[in-house]
Amino acid sequence: MTFLDVIQIFDSTIRLATPLLLACLAGLFSERSGVFDIGLEGKMLVSAFFSAAVAAVTGSVWIGLAAGIAASMAFSLIHGIASITFRGDQLISGVAINFLAAGMTVLIAQDWFQQGSRTPALTGAARFSPIDLPGVEALSGVPLLGPLYAQALSGHTILVYVGLLMVPATWYILFRTRFGLRLRAVGENPGAVDTAGISVARLRFSAVLICGFLCGLAGSYLATGLAAGFTQDMTAGRGFIALAALIFAKWRPWYALGSCLLFGFLQAVSNRYSTLDLGIVEIPNAFVLALPYILTVVILAGFVGRAVPPRAGGEPYVKER
């Protein structure tokens, strides 16, 4: 393995980790407020479709992005109404959202474009193009760091950097603001928050909407940043991997960055090598791909630290009388 290989694997890691990271942070907001969300996949999918479809029609990726976010937030609202207002089962609502998204996107795509449930291929301004970070020139002379910065870190689309910036932003909102404190409290003990005279429903709705916003970014990145258009079921389980990453990160933003980068790295490695030769043993590709799930199970089983979900997670809040 040469240094060039390493750079290319890092480059690929960042591309693959970004949709996971955005979805993972989305789940983090929702679950920290006590609303479990297994509908991340579905929300990413509607966002991917609407961002690609609107970008294809208008020719502007930014209008597409807005449409994708709007669609994803609308789905969040459905989840919120079902599980917060009407106190339905959050898991069932999430599953319903996944099914609704899978069916609806294909149906509308076929009706609008008649291209076998695809949107037309996006070109030019209808896609996000790579941007170069400042300082690429200045660092180009530095050995190791220069090429690493220029090729692995720089040259991604803007949503990658938005995703990376969302990590400190999430940390700040959750742990340094009053809103964040209340949001975490509502996920642990909604009764106490209610007693303090703060609306539990409103806090949970805002968390769920933030979740929709971030899923919107993730879906839009898939369809207009990485690929050039929507194809049927294009999220391919990334929403579920993001959930695994969230558990792996024990519902914390910085850990989420770490776990998503790790999962992205494992995908990048398995894309690159059909078998991983570690000198002593050869690890088959399939095992590397399965590692995220195995690691998550190990964490959940409590072998390496303990993953404690927000205490009030999954339970609708009923006001005491």
Partner: protein, 333 residues
């Protein structure tokens, strides 16, 4: 009285239309839809060509879900369609139960073998077509490395990859062929993001021509190839128009010819049951040339490909078929 008259006339009409429908062929468009730019659309085009050339009529229905297969097949047979053409290997098990119930009707299944006396099974020699595009890929490559992205890791896709690798190796002994499969579940047919990522990884390893046999994932592969400026090869239908300037060619599978031939043979009354192989010789598979890739393909390539084609037809070159013994030394699996 008037009601009675209406009913008798309606009955007469039904009888008439049933009589007229007796010789009509039927086509069941599979999941994915009539205009999928690929398999189904190709079949539809073949049927349309038959209509244009013969002025005949045919029945057509489009499946909306997996559960409708049997019902649709039976209804088509009961309405008197003959032959009934079904598309894709997913129909095989259904056809095995339906075909014996309608011994008077001939069925045609594409891409799978159903062993019933009234079924024609159409198989394509994908390995031969892939061999030709592999040959072109190796000639077009400047880096000496070419690559293949498959969809779901199934024998049919390995058949493509195996033929491709053989074609590339026939051009030059020391060419590098990188083979990647997108996954092992049906999700691998619809993951353009991973497809794109696989190509970028292959480019990192030196590949400058990629062949995608991966359904919806292939869209991402061809797109990434266009973005990174390397040559790409499409599959099934002619996909050259997708990215003019980077599309080297497409390995076409003439499903349209299979449908056309079946319709025409049925009209002439000599539709053969049993296995029909569509290969290079009867133009069942081949490589696509049009105005979009004319600049990419040199005269030497055409010459070499045509020569190889003649040799395969004459039996001088034996392209190994992966599905025969489940091994392929050229592609390394």
């Amino acid at each position: 009285m008037s009601l009675f008259r209406k009913m008798t006339s309606a009955a007469a009409l039904t009888a008439l239309s049933a009589g007229a429908a007796l010789a009509e062929p039927g086509l069941i468009i599979d999941l994915g839809g009539k205009f999928d730019k690929s398999f189904n659309e190709s079949a539809y085009t073949g049927a349309q060509r038959w209509v244009e050339e013969t002025g005949g009529d045919y029945m057509e229905t489009e499946l909306a879900s997996e559960a409708q297969r049997e019902q649709t097949m039976r209804r088509m047979a009961e309405r008197g369609a003959d032959p009934v053409v079904v598309l894709g290997f997913a129909n095989a098990s259904t056809l095995e139960t339906v075909a014996p119930d309608y011994p008077e009707t001939t069925f045609v299944i594409i891409d799978s073998i159903v062993d019933e006396p009234n079924v024609q099974s159409v198989m394509f020699s994908e390995h031969e077509g892939s061999y030709l595009v592999g040959l072109m890929a190796a000639m077009a490559s400047e880096s000496g490395t070419v690559s293949f992205v498959g969809g779901m890791d199934v024998p049919l896709i390995r058949k493509f990859g195996c033929g491709y690798a053989q074609g590339a190796r026939a051009t030059s002994e020391d060419i590098e062929v990188i083979v990647n499969m997108t996954g092992t579940t049906p999700a691998a047919w619809n993951d353009p993001v991973k497809g794109g990522e696989l190509v970028r990884s292959q480019i990192g390893q030196g590949s400058d021509v990629v062949f995608a046999a991966a359904g919806g994932t292939g869209v991402g592969v061809l797109q990434a190839a266009a973005d990174e400026g390397i040559a790409a090869i499409g599959v099934d239908s002619n996909q050259n128009y997708l990215h003019p300037g980077t599309m080297l060619t497409s390995m076409v599978k003439r499903v349209d010819n299979a449908v056309y031939d079946a319709f025409e043979a049925a009209e002439a009354g000599n539709l053969q049951t049993g296995v029909q192989v569509k290969d290079l010789e009867n133009q069942g598979v081949g490589y696509a040339m049009d105005q979009y890739n004319a600049d990419m393909v040199t005269d030497e390539m055409i010459e070499a490909v045509e020569q190889a084609k003649d040799q395969i037809i004459a039996g001088e070159i034996d392209v190994h078929d992966y599905t025969e013994d489940d091994t392929c030394t050229a592609a390394g699996f």
